[in-house]
């Protein structure tokens, strides 16, 4: 929803003024959500682990059930061999679609999932990405993809590429020459941090972590929101 809002706003000042209050309220509420949602998720994980232990299967498997399946399971309090096998298969890969009318389908067949995954991947031959500027500037350097290489610190001057930043990433970003994220709006953590540290930043690139691998040399133009592979 916020991504849609940001696309609607674009660079138009008039729209920005029109929606200023709405954006302010949304971001305030979003901050509140960010504080309590992790607790909900932890509760779900803890509960599924405990139920799994009690009923003699890996609790993690319950997290591969859909909402209606969970409903049935909690009423019947048992899982058949066939259901367990399906859940095991989903762990290796699945595709779920849901229609407003309530129809839902989940596929866990390896070959079909792989085919759909392939269909949805962006073209890897693309050498240019576009996004929204959070802090202007230009930079050229080597990519450090935080999604794939979170366990080691990048050298000073690296260009950090990630889905979305969080406060733990601050020490890494401090030494970066630019920041690229797949998501986020003007009030996201990445945007605020890049302005604070005055690092060129491009957000909402969608596929950056898939297209930019650690070690790639790229040029970041955060004046125009363009990233080019060199």
């Amino acid at each position: 929803m916020m991504n849609n809002l940001m696309r609607y706003l674009g660079d138009e000042e008039e729209k920005g003024i029109l929606t200023k209050e709405t954006v302010h309220v949304l971001m305030g509420e979003r901050d509140k959500v960010a504080k309590f949602y992790p607790q909900i998720e932890k509760t779900i994980f803890d509960c599924t682990d405990i139920i799994g232990q009690l009923l003699g299967f890996e609790g993690d498997l319950m997290r591969y059930m859909s909402l209606p399946e969970m409903d049935i399971f909690l009423k019947e309090k048992k899982l058949g061999e066939a259901q367990l096998k399906i859940l095991e298969e989903r762990k290796e890969g699945y595709v779920m679609v849901y229609l407003e009318e309530g129809d839902q389908e989940i596929i866990q067949t390896g070959s079909i999932v792989a085919e759909i995954r392939e269909m949805l991947q962006p073209s890897i031959s693309t050498t240019e990405l576009k996004g929204t500027c959070a802090f202007p500037g230009r930079a050229k350097g080597r990519v450090h993809n935080l999604l794939t290489d979170r366990n080691w610190h990048p050298p000073k001057g690296a260009i950090i590429v990630t889905t979305m930043t969080n406060p733990d990433d601050t020490p890494i970003i401090k030494n970066a020459s630019a920041l690229i994220t797949e998501e986020g709006g003007i009030l996201s953590h990445a945007a605020v941090l890049s302005r604070e540290l005055m690092i060129p930043c491009i957000m909402s690139t969608k596929y950056a972590t898939q297209m930019l691998k650690t070690g790639d040399i790229i040029e970041v133009d955060a004046e125009k929101g363009i990233i080019k592979k060199v």
Binding site: N3, Y8, Y98
Partner: protein, 110 residues
């Protein structure tokens, strides 16, 4: 219905990827479609998830809802009466009216 057929016909594409299990995405799918329609009069119509282990990519067609959002933003104020009425119908939302935007999308924001 066929996952591939729905993805193609509804124009679903990867919009966000993160660490979330299928169960939570199943709740999110309902929030973005039926709940959003019931309380706000707009919906994504269809959603999808491509996942492996607890990592997932959410599939949406953002173009499908952007027109409705534009019309809303140009025609409503965050404190307007219509929104307040919506929230009064939803007992779980005692706070600001903007919660109707936020609640269905909780997991994607954490």
């Amino acid at each position: 219905m066929g996952c591939k057929k729905v993805i193609c016909e509804e124009g679903l594409e990867i919009t966000t990827s993160r660490n979330l299990p299928l169960f939570i995405m199943s709740c999110v799918a309902r929030g973005y479609t039926r709940n959003l329609r019931a309380h706000f009069g707009m919906s994504y119509g269809a959603t999808g998830t491509l996942g492996k282990s607890n990592w997932m990519s959410a599939l949406f067609n953002n173009h499908r809802i952007i027109k409705d959002i534009e019309e809303y933003l140009e025609g409503h104020h965050p404190d307007d009466t219509l929104l307040v009425m919506h929230c009064q119908k939803i007992p779980i939302l005692p706070l600001h009216p903007s919660w109707i935007f936020i609640l269905p999308t909780l997991p994607l924001w954490a």
